[in-house]
Subunit: 189 residues, 2 copies
């Protein structure tokens, strides 16, 4: 199964030789965990990167005691505590499973070793980061100047089935509006 998942990952980004894949596999953990499991706690040092094979996860932070969703990750997507992973700072985010999930856990150190050792692996990481960067760019555009409804419509375009996986409150905070407002928008459809 791990081989199948890795094949899927590499097919999306770049090809990797068997040698690289074997070395990579040696440090991958495959986890099967329940909805609600916290993968990362705010304030903790974390060097882990996750790949959701089945299920979904969210990253969020607290502002005035309220959870604000920062990042959702569904099947075949990565998720990590961005500032923790890339900058080595204590994590500003919690990461929590929003459904029962099967996921892979990678480790920054090993990823960096592989990136330094193999050009192809470096390309793979570049491609993965580029994808994340482009997603963020899109979010900035619609957070900057758009109404609550425009934001919601945009999100549905990106993730048509998000409502099956993520609660209304989390969706609302992700697009920067309150849950009451989102509820009213839904009611009008």
């Amino acid at each position: 199964m791990l081989d199948k998942i890795i094949a899927k990952i590499t097919s999306e980004y770049t090809t990797l030789s068997n040698e690289i894949i074997e070395e990579w596999k040696s440090d991958i953990l495959m986890l099967e965990l329940e909805k609600g499991t916290q993968l990362v706690r705010e304030g903790s040092y974390t060097n882990k990167l996750f790949y959701i094979y089945k299920g979904s996860a969210k990253a969020y932070h607290l502002k005035n005691g309220k959870a604000i969703a920062d990042w959702f990750s569904f099947e075949h997507e990565f998720i990590c505590a961005i500032t923790g992973y890339f900058l080595g700072h204590p994590s500003e985010h919690y990461i929590e499973l929003t459904e029962d999930s099967i996921l892979l856990e990678f480790n920054r150190k090993h990823i960096n070793i592989l990136s330094n050792k193999y050009h192809d692996f470096e390309r793979f990481t570049r491609n993965a980061i580029t994808k994340i960067m482009l997603q963020l760019q899109k979010r900035v555009v619609y957070l900057q100047f758009s109404t609550a409804k425009e934001r919601y419509d945009f999100l549905l375009q990106e993730y048509p089935k998000i409502e099956l996986h993520i609660s209304l409150g989390d969706i609302a905070s992700y697009i920067g509006i309150t849950q009451e407002t989102l509820s009213r928008i839904r009611a009008q459809k």
Copy 2:
């Protein structure tokens, strides 16, 4: 002078051998252009990446006829039409110099060739993209749920001298508020 600039760029991201630098230089244009010059027009295909050596630039798009700033770039920073450059789509952005500037112009094709040929260059591009990704991540956080004043304060923290280079209207649109609101916030200081 070009050598000096390249030394500066590489010092920020990764070391590159002389061989690589020479090959890279063969396709770099150095430009000295006036404030107001348009580097990229919306709708155009563009495969150019710019590095501001002196001066500053902005990327923006039009919404309901109004310009909305998407990205500022100051000395020693990169700028490009993100979707145009990374996805090969027609550009969604204009890029325009906000001051008289000296800049370098790179070309996606050549950058990709170098990235494929040299592992070190690939690492260099990965680092550059990672930096852009982290900047976007920060912007998302403060655009998501913060008051006009918080956004402005955050921007000043990131770019303390931005007011010397960028007009009030552009700054306002960048942080997702109107210029009148920004003017009033300033008046209260």
